[in-house]
Symmetry: C3
Subunit: 155 residues, 3 copies
Amino acid sequence: MTADRFIAMTMLFEKYARLLDEDRLEEWTDLFVEGCLYEIVSRENVRQNLPLSLMLCDSKDMLRDRISALREANIFNIHVDCHVIGPVHVAPSDAGWDVSSAYALYQSTQEGETRLFSVGRYHAHVVEHDGALRFARQRVVVDTGAILTLLATPI
Amino acid sequence: MTADRFIAMTMLFEKYARLLDEDRLEEWTDLFVEGCLYEIVSRENVRQNLPLSLMLCDSKDMLRDRISALREANIFNIHVDCHVIGPVHVAPSDAGWDVSSAYALYQSTQEGETRLFSVGRYHAHVVEHDGALRFARQRVVVDTGAILTLLATPI
Amino acid sequence: MTADRFIAMTMLFEKYARLLDEDRLEEWTDLFVEGCLYEIVSRENVRQNLPLSLMLCDSKDMLRDRISALREANIFNIHVDCHVIGPVHVAPSDAGWDVSSAYALYQSTQEGETRLFSVGRYHAHVVEHDGALRFARQRVVVDTGAILTLLATPI
């Protein structure tokens, strides 16, 4: 893999995390292709081959709907996100690339109290679309499950 | 942006964090230009457009004074820092670059007890000065505010 | 340092962390040279120049034995790891490179409860061996000591 490819994938993941942190969810949605799959699954369910998802959107429209619903519910204002992600792993696959990275997601209240919300790993399939890198699939495998009943926003 | 530019900014941020973690605060100060602005502000104050800073040094001399005061107060020995920072975002701006990254800062006591001290985002303006990259501005926007009354050292 | 070198070291550290997270410990062992040194030491002991190690393996065989013992004890299943590491620092040294990075290691139970297990810094010496980058030395300096009596797996 070339240096340019590695850095382009790093920048894509950086943008993904930053748009979530800055509550720019509509722009975040634009990082996906129309027929995308966005899924949050627990590592334990993956290990046991259970098909349960904590969140599942199987198109960009569905992802947009979800974001709209969140905007209307005004849940955003309850907390702010801070994603710290590690270096990416990139492997060519299926006319695109499988890209993964570890992440830690912290949530803070407006009063400035921070808690660790979730750690885990992104497993993305990235393709080139109209000259830009886009997510064809983003599967978030979370190690942290206990607090996911509170899940409202994407990870 | 070229690969070299991206990596140079990554290395600058890495050095910034490492010098703080290794308590090499005088060398850390050397990463700033003379007329620099170093500021810690809470995300909530930024959102409300409040001009309050948790720390504000508007020159390298003032930053040096602050470090000297900390050295004399011997507050350093109370804890050690560990910064884990994410990938940088780089955008050309004003004869330099705006560079940001998410961070998580952990503090540990000499007895080895670790707590999350602060998460947030660096918003830097970086310029080239005498052939080296330097901070003209570093604005640390912290999500975590509740513990900042204890703030003593830079983030 | 060239962009390619920086990225190659980033990829080595990424692989190191990912193999641990995915419980692929035998492959993780393969990242070391035969006469390697793997050591976990506390930052406080380093500061006081105390020779105590929390874990010490002074060859790849010893590292393999340790992994085998862990496999037999079946301690792995108690938790899963998630390493989030920061950008690497690379400096040429002794026919190889000194490479360091900060890390945060989270552990989660099968029930999905996550805790911060350890933060600290990797101090590696990396060499080229048969065309691949390998660890000749990995010294993990941990800031977090209070929970290390529970230490079972590598960091």
